[in-house]
């Protein structure tokens, strides 16, 4: 059976105003939490592989204790096992330090065939952690993957590139970052939601499915994680006005009204739209 590892992260929900400080930074303690939307595509791809080829799917997340919530969500989607890496010495890890810690989780797991990550996170927003895990594990990667199939030990994939796409073949193991384009999300839960609720209630069952590990458990070197292990720091932040600044939005009861208000505004702003029309 294929062994699939999926990296998922819990991120602050920036669409809700809760936990957003006046200066635009996030107060993670107060912010609502959610599964990184890009990681849903990775999770969906993992479940597809499981349904199509048969696979054991292990989800891994690194974060503070509440991050266990994303593992529960992953079980509902059909994942088999979850690992939460949580440790105070991970705080303020940049991508290099995060990838170091996450690759140590993979080493702790042992054998694997396919590692899936999201394209990027909505808070870190770098798309770097996936390739950096692959580098640490000395394995091949396919980033921006839009579709894949597996035959024996060969994985075929389609990758987005400027101007089109590439089709490629790779021998397992491989790390894939899953693009958000092409396949829309399927909101069905493929896991047995009632059974998930049930095993979460029994500490023994729960422990079989969810492992909570620290840097010591996985044998990671704390000098390579957190602030100490990160070659970069955030020096300064500014709040931006709404970008582009000033979208004039027409919204209301009647479409006729909205459209005619837009036209009036275009005229008033002297956009010269009239000149471009066939009249």
């Amino acid at each position: 059976m294929l062994k699939v590892v999926v990296f998922i992260k819990q991120v602050p929900d920036t669409s809700s105003k809760a936990g957003v400080n006046p200066d635009g930074t996030i107060d993670r303690a107060r912010a609502k939490r959610m599964l990184n939307p890009f990681d849903r595509y990775a999770l969906q791809k993992a479940i597809e592989i499981k349904r199509q080829y048969g696979a054991e799917v292990t989800c891994v997340t690194m974060g503070p204790p509440p991050a266990v919530e994303v593992l529960v969500e992953a079980f509902e989607h059909g994942a088999d096992y979850g690992i939460l890496l949580t440790d105070k010495r991970l705080a303020a890890s940049d991508t290099l330090a995060t990838a170091y810690a996450l690759h140590m989780v993979v080493r702790h797991i042992g054998a694997f065939d396919v590692i899936l990550t999201g394209l990027q996170t909505t808070d870190g927003d770098t798309a770097q952690v996936g390739p950096q895990i692959a580098e640490r594990l000395h394995i091949a990667q396919i980033t921006y993957c839009e579709g894949l199939s597996i035959s024996g030990t060969t994985l075929s994939a389609r990758r987005v590139v400027e101007g089109g796409f590439q089709e490629m073949e790779v021998q397992l193991p491989v790390l894939i970052t899953v693009a958000n384009s092409a396949t829309p999300l399927d909101y069905k839960r493929f896991g047995d939601v009632a059974a998930v609720k049930e095993f979460l209630r029994h500490p023994e069952e729960r422990e079989k499915r969810i492992k909570i590990v620290s840097l010591d458990t996985i044998g990671a070197d704390s000098a390579r994680t957190g602030l100490v292990g990160s070659p970069t720091v955030v020096g300064k932040t500014w709040k931006l006005g709404e970008i582009g600044g000033s979208c004039v939005v027409f919204q209301g009861e009647s479409m006729e009204r909205e459209v005619s208000e837009l036209i009036e505004k275009l005229k008033a702003d002297g956009k010269g739209v009239e000149e471009l029309i066939n009249a």
């Binding site: 980033t143 987005v160 400027e162 384009s181 939005v249 479409m255 471009l276 029309i277």
Partner: protein
């Protein structure tokens, strides 16, 4: 021997075409190099690409370091990784700064190089600068100190609501990728002179683990998106190929309008790829861009954000496109588009009457 103290740009070419991002990076690198009092080196990898070195010099490079090898004909992560590492190791001392593009290649390759070198990498920068920094944080005493002339890598964060300056003065090279279409390319200067060096690379068997079976690049110019004055685009919100009838109908109002599309509409097979606008489609700068049922993902936005007037129609008031469009209508495009068509015609007629009177 190439100068290891230069600011480095890793060039990007696809099948022998230099990508625009490379000129943008060279423009940015020159600015940094002038502040540092050093030059600009460009790494150029591929097969049969040595003649491109001159273009790179005309675009701002002082030195071009070429790896020209049949194994680099197609881009693959591991072979290009080996090539870049070979050049960096050839330089003996690591350069101060290495820049790449936030493209599907740059974002594939840069993180692997950074992890190999164990250095920092800042993604998707929109500004780069040089300055000083005093690190006071006591959490790690080995980091404390004052650092002069380091890279300021500035990038948007948290859904573009914040801008952050990322610093990594402790290790060299300081690495960054920059967003497409943001840095200023320099005008081509055919009188510029520079030096070209070549480096040989020794591949390992493991570098060939990924085989490219096919590369489909559509460079068709059958649809003239880049020169159109007006673009009316449709996205997944159209719900099906027939939706493009509505898009075409609205476009027919304008004198010189072309139909555009989001990648999702193209991938759904509703319209050919030649219509796609965005990072992996065309970059456009029309006077008017009307987006019907397009959410405004960053990869779409980088292709059309320079339109003079952007009008978005979307039924979701929270769609990201309303953050950067100039005008927006929240509503069902199937209701809005016909009304918009009618009103636009009326508007032009009224104007015509006034002009005639």
């Amino acid at each position: 021997m190439p100068n290891p103290n230069n600011v480095v740009v890793v060039a990007e070419q696809l099948q022998g075409d230099l990508q625009q991002i490379t000129q943008e990076l060279l423009g940015a690198a020159r600015g940094l190099a002038e502040k540092l009092g050093t030059g600009v080196s460009c790494f150029l990898l591929g097969h049969g690409i040595t003649p491109l070195a001159e273009r790179l010099i005309h675009s701002g490079a002082d030195e071009v370091i070429v790896v020209d090898d049949p194994q680099l004909k197609e881009y693959t992560t591991l072979t290009y990784r080996r090539g870049v590492i070979a050049i960096l190791e050839h330089l003996k001392t690591p350069p101060p700064i290495v820049l790449m593009g936030s493209t599907t290649i740059g974002r594939d390759l840069a993180p692997r190089i950074a992890a190999y070198m164990e250095v920092g990498l800042t993604a998707d920068c929109t500004e780069l600068d040089i300055g000083d920094y005093e690190h006071k944080g006591k959490a790690d005493p080995t980091k404390v100190g004052t650092f002069n002339n380091i890279l300021y890598a500035i990038r948007p964060s948290f859904g573009e609501s914040l801008k952050a300056r990322i610093l990594g003065p402790w290790k060299k090279p300081q690495m960054a990728t920059t967003r497409i279409g943001v840095m200023q390319a320099l005008p081509l200067d055919k009188t510029r002179k520079g030096a070209v060096f070549t480096v040989a690379v020794k591949f390992e068997q493991e570098d060939f683990r990924v085989k490219v079976v096919k590369t489909a690049r559509d460079v068709s110019t059958s649809v003239n998106l880049t020169e159109a004055k007006v673009i009316v685009s449709g996205g997944a919100g159209l719900g099906g190929p027939e939706g493009f009838d509505v898009v075409r109908d609205l476009a027919s109002v304008f004198k010189d309008a072309v139909v555009g599309a989001s990648r999702r509409a193209v991938d759904s097979g509703w319209i050919p790829y030649a219509h796609q606008v965005g990072q992996t489609g065309k970059t456009v700068r029309p006077d008017i861009y009307i987006a019907l049922g397009i959410s405004g993902a960053i990869q779409h936005r980088v292709g059309m954000a320079n339109a003079k007037t952007i009008i978005a129609v979307n039924k979701d008031a929270d769609a990201p496109i309303f953050k950067f469009a100039h005008y927006g209508i929240v509503g069902d495009l199937y209701q809005v588009a016909p009304l918009l068509k009618k009103e636009l015609i009326k508007m032009a007629r009224e104007k015509g009457v006034k002009a005639g009177a």
